[in-house]
Amino acid sequence: MSSENFQQSRTPPIATTGLLGWIRLNLFSSWFNSILTILVIYLLYQILVPFLNWSIFAADFTHNYLGQQIIDRTFCTRVMDPEIGGACWAIIFVRFYQFIYGFYPVEEVWRVNIVYSLLVIAVAPLLIEKFPLRKYFLYFTLIFPIIAYFLLAGGFGLAHVSTKDWGGLLVTLVLGFTGIALAFPLGIVLALGRRSNLPVISMVCTLFIEFIRGVPLITLLFFGMVMLPLFLPEGITLDGLVRCLIAVTLFQGAYMAEVIRGGLQAIPQGQYEAAQSVGLSYWQMNRKIILPQAIRITIPSIVNTSIGLFKDTTLVLIVGQLDLLGIGRAVLAAQTWMGLSIEVYVFVAVVFIIFTFSMSRYSLYLEKKLKTGINMGAD
């Protein structure tokens, strides 16, 4: 058979293009994948539908199914009639203040709000390279901790607010951000120290890192909470939150040091030699040549350990500090809200996911950006 005309090009089979094609290629490419897909869809259906129903469609927010405003657990639909009731989110609404600020005095709470807003302004230029007037904002980032301290604790005419009144998200953020911010310089110093040619410095740093990394955070917290006060001179008591901060910072510092050391080791020897050959001193070499490169390549790992620390801060509950999770548990001890533990734990989990997920997304964005940077050569 011979063809006289060129055959018209046909449209590709409908099963290989568009949505259908995508589904076929990715979800049903073989009998095994088809079974897996169906199984996963079935499981999602089994889990997601009841969860959405419980958390949204059958849930009480501020009013119950009779339209009454919920002021304690007895008004919750699920307490009145477990058959029809879903989540009772009223506990979160009623106690929202405690979740976000702890027991911070209401008339002073504007100070916390300012700190929360300033925190965004302080962190944004760190994260966004093209931030307008970035250089000046970075100076602000440097002095932000001092401003935040006086705003939160008082001073310069502001009323003193004891850290015993701090709680909830405030404590979680203070521990998380201060821990990360202080651990970073500590980590750099320790990493450089460990690679130092001076045996004493290198040994001290190695010992410190290995000791701190060798014990769990909870041990350090107990040490700070239980042992430290016994070593302090009589009449001097360190604030409970400060003791937790010290423990968290030392812990994170040791981990940060190892991350940064990894970066330092990844820098080719030639870079060191080149720096030394143009006559740079040790500090100049590290500041201008080595560290900028080392930190750049370790940023994803730094963010990674920071996420770990952020979650680890919940351990302070065990030494009696009421962070976000601790406040949740205290709220559940109130007789008016007893038994609504699932709501509280889901809320706390969601808040943590929001923070850690944003951190991990940011790390992903950085990774992509850095990769492009390397492909295009040095900038």
Binding site: P229, L230, L317, V319, G320, M338, G339
Partner: protein, 334 residues
């Protein structure tokens, strides 16, 4: 290690004991009181962030006695592990944290329990449908029990002494026990009576559960201070005693003002109208009046926080006055 810790602790507060906690508290202007991080009925924040509970009232009573103002308290939240070091180091002036008075804590840890503000004890809770009215009828029952606690040992002792058998379902936490019990995986749950009541209150229908009358262990919970500062110990002790004595004499928040010219001599002594009992404690003579006016008597505090009208619904039981069949008894105010 534990011993070394307590020796260090003892030597540290042996030094600070000389300073005089009462003077420290007065100079500071507020009391530092250790409570739990949250336990229904004993210490928990209310909707507006104020701490409430039986232990919290104890702290507030001491503040009322010292300052005439029950709000002058700073609460420090402590856990089971951090409570003793926090008190020993002087970070708090007193601890009111549902702590069981035992010999070793009183003596070896170097603290002084000044009294008992709640007599707790291990009890049993069963579904009403089981139709059991006494723990001795529980032969062959499955018991939800927290492992590695004194509760577990007490349970074994009780069942052995009564010559009945049981099957233990070991669990780790109270939350887990609650879920197992509600799901019907065990017939009986045993823990401290106050814990049973709080578990019961969290069920969909509290009437489905009944707490059996047997109490098989002694758990006297009370406030404590550092050993060696007797003046301060006296202040806390008589703050607690005042609340108990006030109940004996029927003095309440509402009627205390009307009793200022009562014809009962002891009432006049309590309210500081006669005698200089406050001065003996280096407090003002109306310290007891302030406690009753601002906190109320023991009964009022009990009813407000754990009593039958609260979700916990714990009957007075052992915590009734000695005249009402309980064992609450305070020395005379004279």
């Amino acid at each position: 290690m534990k011993k070394l810790l307590s020796i260090v602790a003892v030597s540290v507060f042996a030094l600070s004991a000389n300073a005089g906690t009462l003077d420290d508290v007065k100079n500071r202007g507020f009391l530092k009181c250790g409570v739990t991080t949250g336990l229904a009925g004993f210490a928990a924040p209310d909707d507006s962030g104020n701490w409430t509970g039986l232990d919290v009232d104890m702290c507030r009573a001491v503040a009322a006695a010292v300052f005439g103002d029950s709000s002058k308290v700073e609460f420090t939240t402590t856990t089971g592990k951090s409570r003793f070091p926090t008190l020993a180091s002087g970070e708090i002036d007193m601890l009111a944290r549902n702590t069981t008075w035992t010999l070793s804590r009183d003596v070896n840890l170097g603290f002084e329990f000044v009294g008992v503000n709640f007599y707790d004890g291990q009890g049993f809770m069963v579904p009403t449908s089981l139709g059991v009215s006494s723990a001795t009828e529980l032969d062959g029952a499955t018991v939800c029990i927290q492992t590695g606690t004194t509760t577990e040992l007490n349970l074994a002792d009780f069942f052995r002494a009564n010559n009945i058998g049981y099957e233990a379902l070991p669990i780790e936490t109270n939350d887990e026990a609650r879920e197992n019990l509600f799901a019907g995986r065990c017939d009986v749950f045993t823990t401290d009576a106050s814990g049973l009541s709080s578990t019961r209150a969290q069920s969909d229908n509290p009437n489905k559960w009944v707490v059996l009358p047997e109490i098989i262990s002694k758990e006297p919970l009370g406030p404590l201070v550092r050993h060696g500062d007797h003046q301060w110990g006296d202040v806390v002790r008589w703050s607690l005693n005042t609340m108990i004595i006030a109940e004996e004499f029927g003095l309440t928040q509402a009627n205390v003002d009307d009793n200022m010219n009562s014809n009962i001599p002891e009432v006049l002594r309590i309210l500081g109208v006669e005698g200089g009992y406050g001065e003996m404690l280096e407090l003002s003579n109306d310290f007891a009046y302030n406690i009753i006016k601002q906190i109320g008597n023991y009964s009022e505090s009990y009813e407000r926080n754990v009593g039958p009208d609260t979700p916990l619904a714990i009957g007075r039981g052992l915590n009734a006055l000695w005249t009402d069949g309980g064992i609450l008894y305070a020395p005379p105010f004279r």
